[in-house]
């Protein structure tokens, strides 16, 4: 059961509550920003960084009906189904959990930044300014997802089972999805979210472009997006294809023992042949 988030950009009001909730949850220091570092709205900071795990992007675009629109999308780790970063990491500091989160263990990391290079979405960030730097990125609030049991009482009052369930539900969802009040961020099982996304498109084909971003991109991601404009206009990479990147690497890696046998046999064969030739030549003399 792999969980994900459905981001419906048509519901997003760009309030950035999720962006701040993320900083609060992860206790991230603020960035000293300049006046709107990017044109097209209020986007700030300009990009993801080791201090900014998630970012609402502001896009002044023309929508599919030809009208001007101001569209807010979101960038954070996509938590790929088959993550490039996990495939890349040479010490296993990154891993994909069963719940869908791609998590990072800083006690293993050596700081090689192959994960940064390999990420199709430009997500992981490095603490460049530190002398002992780590990689930072959205954790899918992995620790929240694991916890969240309700206390026995709140404000001196015992909680009933319904309240406890609600407490658990709100405390275990990722902080950004808890902060989102319009339903633009919907947390749930990825398969169910895909059904929901398809339903929304089917029910309201005028509102959406017929594309669930993340369903197939680079092998699929846990985070899924709906939009009323082409994702290209929102700055999403459009050329990733449907094949997961790690599948290329896996093919190469799986070849290792075969190469060991093949090259060994070939070398042995040649060697043996050359030696035989030499012997024959010697005998012939």
């Amino acid at each position: 059961m792999s969980r994900g988030v459905l981001v419906d950009t048509t519901l997003c009001t760009g309030c950035r509550g999720c962006q701040v909730a993320c900083k609060q949850q992860n206790k991230l220091p603020p960035e000293e920003t300049t006046f709107f570092a990017k044109a097209g709205g209020y986007q700030n900071p300009a990009d993801l960084s080791a201090r900014t795990y998630s970012l609402v992007t502001f896009n002044e675009v023309e929508n599919k009906n030809g009208h001007f629109d101001w569209v807010f999308a979101r960038r954070q780790c996509m938590h790929c189904e088959e993550p490039s970063c996990v495939s890349a990491c040479l010490v296993g500091a990154l891993s994909k959990t069963e719940s869908g989160a791609v998590v990072y263990d800083e006690t293993k990391c050596i700081g090689c930044r192959y994960c940064l290079l390999s990420c199709p979405f430009g997500v992981p960030s490095f603490e460049w300014e530190k002398t002992v730097p780590f990689v930072r990125k959205c954790t899918f609030c992995f620790t929240r997802q694991a916890g969240g049991d309700a206390p026995a009482t709140v404000n001196g009052k015992a909680l009933d089972s319904e309240q406890r369930a609600r407490h658990k539900e709100t405390q275990t969802k990722p902080a950004c999805t808890k902060a989102c009040h319009t339903g633009a961020l919907m947390f749930g099982e990825r398969e169910e979210l895909l059904v929901e996304a398809r339903n929304r498109i089917r029910k309201n084909p005028k509102r959406y472009v017929n594309h669930i971003y993340g369903e197939k991109e680079a092998g699929g991601t846990s985070w899924l997006y709906l939009a009323g404009v082409s994702f290209k206009k929102l700055g999403f990479p459009m050329h990733l294809g449907e094949r997961s990147f790690p599948s290329y690497a896996k093919a190469a890696k799986d070849g290792v023992p075969h190469v060991m046998l093949g090259v060994g046999a070939m070398l042995g064969g040649f060697y043996w042949y050359n030696q035989r030739c030499a012997e024959v030549a010697k005998k012939g003399e």
Binding site: L11, T13, G14, F35, F36, A37, K38, A39, T182, G183
Partner: protein, 816 residues
């Protein structure tokens, strides 16, 4: 809205927005400034509702709307007027509702007319109002024509009045393309005029902060009454409060002209309690009118008992003489004007930052320097608290002694807040306040106790202070529960009211039990029932489920004034026989078998006007019980600037008034005529607004690094067309100039602003965010340095939203 319905509050509540079929957001940018409201707006949209956003620029609200229409700041009446005209001309109104619940059928004085933009004679800056009245019959009851055919009936007057606001004329004023205007009118009227459908209007400061702000709201009122949208689920006119407790503080008399519970602040002429009551208790001769304000004597007496306890009795007019009597206007601008003239010598400011938030803020900053002392109570050292060391001043030249008292934040103290939807919700203390920070309750308690001590030693008139009932516990921190209980009120003696016996000291179950003989005390009659013998009703936290509560009243969640009524004027949600207009989302319905209303707490328990057989029910009362005449006012004679809304230009406007010779609201007060800009020198319309990321004058947010990161500096937004004309690029530094001041900020050049075409003239508008000042982490210049010192004719709210300016480029920016 008080002039139209009887109460000046959000008619419905946040959750109820989800029940709407059409939501018009005008004079508000709710998605940005009331973000949580969009939880419910989105829900409504998912159920098929249309969202309309009307705003001078394309906002984050517009970004999720189904229809966006631009309008020039300050032209709401023309815009809504066109919608009203469309509805009236095409008879797309809910006629039965209008006849039953509004004063459409009332006959107005036959001499009433609008001439040259005036509703009669103006003398000494005020209307004489001699024609603003209804015709009355011999029995003193207002004459009506329920066929609505009489040319003097309100309906016919409305039709005539708004016929002038056709789409084309309105478009020339508002700058809204005719097509957009038509689309909005057709959608809103089309979606909401049918009985089973409801449309709501969400508004905020974009509506009120004009010289004709009250009339802007009046135009919404008329539209909504014609649509039959008041009192119903998913309807209403929802005033979105800018702060979590604005409603609460207004209920408890933060404004100068009222005392708790919207009782009038006595004026110099109200020399005795009787004189006061004679002046302010409304009367009616119509037996069907409940005239709830007829209970006025009970409420003021109980309030006086709450103030002075045992020391308020029949013998001393319940200490009425202790109440100060006002003889002037003490609104924000008047106070600062008086400070500037050296009349006011000292000020305590709690959680307010006029050095950033006040109009013509530069002059307000100067005025602070005329004080002998200033006490600033806030979480941070605000611009107001630090006015003496602001850039460009020499602290040595300022003689004001400033005390900065560190205050506890809202999470650091216990108590209640009342939200826009009138819900009083109890909050607990999450953590103790840091350092020496104290709750404002603590501070006021200390001040009061110290004053009592000092006045006990003598003074000019010590009695009101010395005799003050002040019992909030003996602890260091006053007990907020004692405060809440006092607000609710106690029986002050053993008595029997309405067949029930009560003991002295018992909490009063509801304001229906209040007495005018001193037998009860209540700090605010509206809150009577909020803290009863059953406990603290505001602390309730039970959600209802959709099955039992399809319209989400959530009656067991917190507590709502009045008497836990979630949607006020809810009797108007039913026809004259008590059957809901919208059976799929009933607010209340009359149960003939039980003989009582079901659903929400009704606006009075009387039966509906008609029996099932169509005959009059003698026990029945009209639905708008807070109006003496029992009906909602399409025609509202009680306002200062006209019974019907008429378009006037903002005080500073780029064009002449196309509707009449009368350029501005005729009865506004202009403080400094020499500071009014004209359109030749200042051709650009400017407005101010907020962004999600910062809050009001910014003390709470510009000091938070996470929020400073999002919006680090002040900016002015402008259209690409205007920027091209001025050679300005996105991110450049620009100077914005008005007769009041010139400030420098960053330019945001965006297609979200578009120039307006007004009768062939191209007019540009720019928008500034006003959160900034010289304190905190994120600093920037204050937009309110620019705003004019002029206010609404009725409320004195300054005209922040429409003024003139000039913009020029001063430096290159560095935007990536």
């Amino acid at each position: 809205m008080a002039a139209s319905f009887g109460r000046g509050a959000m008619t419905n509540h946040w959750n109820d927005i989800a029940n709407s079929d059409c939501i018009m957001v005008i004079g508000s940018n709710a998605a940005e400034n009331h973000p949580i409201s969009f939880k419910y707006v989105t829900r409504a949209q998912q159920n098929g509702a249309k969202l309309i956003s009307v705003d001078p620029r394309y906002t984050r609200t517009s970004s999720v709307s189904d229809i966006y229409a631009p309008l020039r700041s300050g032209t709401d009446i023309a815009f809504i007027g066109a919608m009203i005209n469309y509805a009236l001309a095409n008879d797309l109104i809910q006629r039965e509702y209008v006849i039953t619940h509004t004063n459409a059928s009332f006959l107005v004085d036959s001499k009433f007319k609008l001439e040259d933009g005036l509703f009669g004679e103006v003398k000494d800056g005020a209307y004489t109002k001699d024609t603003w009245k209804f015709q009355k019959g011999a029995n003193g009851v207002i004459r009506k024509d329920t066929t609505l055919k009489n040319p003097n009936c309100v309906y016919q007057l409305l039709k005539k009045h708004f016929a002038r606001y056709d789409f084309e004329s309105a478009s020339e004023i508002t700058g809204t393309p005719v097509g957009d205007l038509k689309k909005v009118a057709k959608t809103f009227v089309g979606m909401s005029h049918r009985p089973e459908k409801s449309g709501t209007i969400m508004y905020a400061m974009g509506t009120t902060q004009h010289t004709h702000g009250t009339q802007n709201i009046r135009s919404y009122v008329i539209l909504q009454l014609l649509m039959g949208n008041i009192g119903v689920a998913g309807g209403g006119i929802n005033a979105l409060r800018g702060e979590s407790n604005v409603q609460g503080s207004t209920d408890h008399c933060i404004l100068f002209h009222i005392i708790p519970g919207y009782l009038k602040c006595p004026t110099a002429g109200n020399t005795s309690l009787q004189a006061y009551l004679d002046k302010w208790t409304p009367k009616t001769k119509d037996a069907k009118s409940a005239n709830w304000w007829g209970n006025y004597p009970k409420y003021i007496t109980s309030l006086l008992k709450a103030f002075w306890g045992e020391n308020a009795g029949k013998s001393n007019d319940f200490a009425y003489d202790y109440l100060p009597k006002r003889d002037a206007n003490y609104s924000h601008m008047a106070l600062f004007d008086a400070m500037g003239r050296g009349v006011i010598k000292g000020m305590i400011t709690l959680g307010q930052n006029p050095a950033v938030g006040g109009p013509s803020a530069g002059q307000e900053r100067d005025a602070l320097g005329n004080l002998d002392w200033l006490v600033a109570v806030d979480l941070w050292e605000t611009e107001t608290a630090a006015f003496w060391k602001r850039p460009g001043t020499n602290p040595a030249d300022i003689n004001t002694e400033v005390f900065l008292l560190p205050a506890a934040g809202s999470m650091e103290k216990e108590g209640s807040v009342t939200n826009s939807g009138r819900w009083g919700q109890w909050r607990y203390r999450a953590k103790p306040a840091p350092g020496d920070a104290k709750s404002d309750l603590w501070m006021l308690d200390r001040i009061a106790r110290e004053l009592k001590k000092l006045y006990a030693q003598g003074g000019v008139f010590p009695d009101p202070i010395v005799n003050l009932a002040w019992n909030y516990g003996d602890g260091d921190e006053p007990d907020p529960h004692l405060v809440a209980k006092e607000i609710n009120g106690y029986f002050t003696k053993d008595c029997t009211v309405k067949g029930k016996s009560f003991k002295k000291g018992q909490l009063i179950p509801s304001f229906a039990y209040l007495l005018d003989d001193g037998g009860t005390s209540s700090g605010n009659w509206l809150y009577c029932a909020s803290y009863t013998e059953k406990g603290n009703m505001m602390a309730r936290r039970t959600r209802s489920n959709l099955k039992d509560d399809p319209i989400g009243l959530n009656q067991d969640w917190a507590w709502c004034w009045p008497v836990n009524r979630r949607i006020i004027y809810n009797r108007a949600s039913c026809d004259a026989k008590g059957v809901p207009w919208a059976p799929n989302k009933p607010v209340i319905a009359y149960d003939r078998v039980a003989g009582k209303w079901r659903g929400d707490v009704p606006d009075g328990g009387w039966p509906p006007l008609l029996k099932p057989d169509g005959t009059q029910d003698p026990k029945a009362k009209y639905s708008f019980i807070m109006r003496a005449e029992g009906h909602a006012c399409l025609f509202a004679p009680s306002l200062k600037d006209g019974p019907l809304p008429e378009h006037y230009e903002p005080l500073e406007s780029p064009v002449a008034n196309f509707m009449s010779e009368q350029q501005n609201n005729p009865v506004i007060k202009i403080w400094r005529p020499e500071e009014i800009g004209d359109s030749k020198e200042y051709p650009v319309v400017a407005t101010t607004y907020r962004v999600t990321e910062h809050w009001q004058a910014g003390a709470m947010t510009r000091n938070l690094p996470w929020l400073a990161e999002l919006v680090p500096d002040a900016f002015v937004e402008m259209s690409c067309e205007f920027a091209a004309e001025k050679g300005i690029e996105n991110g450049d530094r620009v100077a914005v100039k008005t007769p009041r001041a010139t400030i420098e900020l960053y330019a945001v050049v965006t297609p979200r602003f578009k120039p307006f075409e007004l009768k062939g003239k191209t007019v540009h508008q720019v928008g500034l965010i006003w959160h900034f000042g010289y304190q905190g982490i994120a600093k920037g210049e204050s937009a309110n340095m620019l705003t004019p010192m002029v206010g609404d004719a009725n409320t004195m709210i300054p005209e922040f939203k429409a003024f003139l300016c000039d913009v020029r480029k001063i430096g290159k920016g560095g935007v990536a």
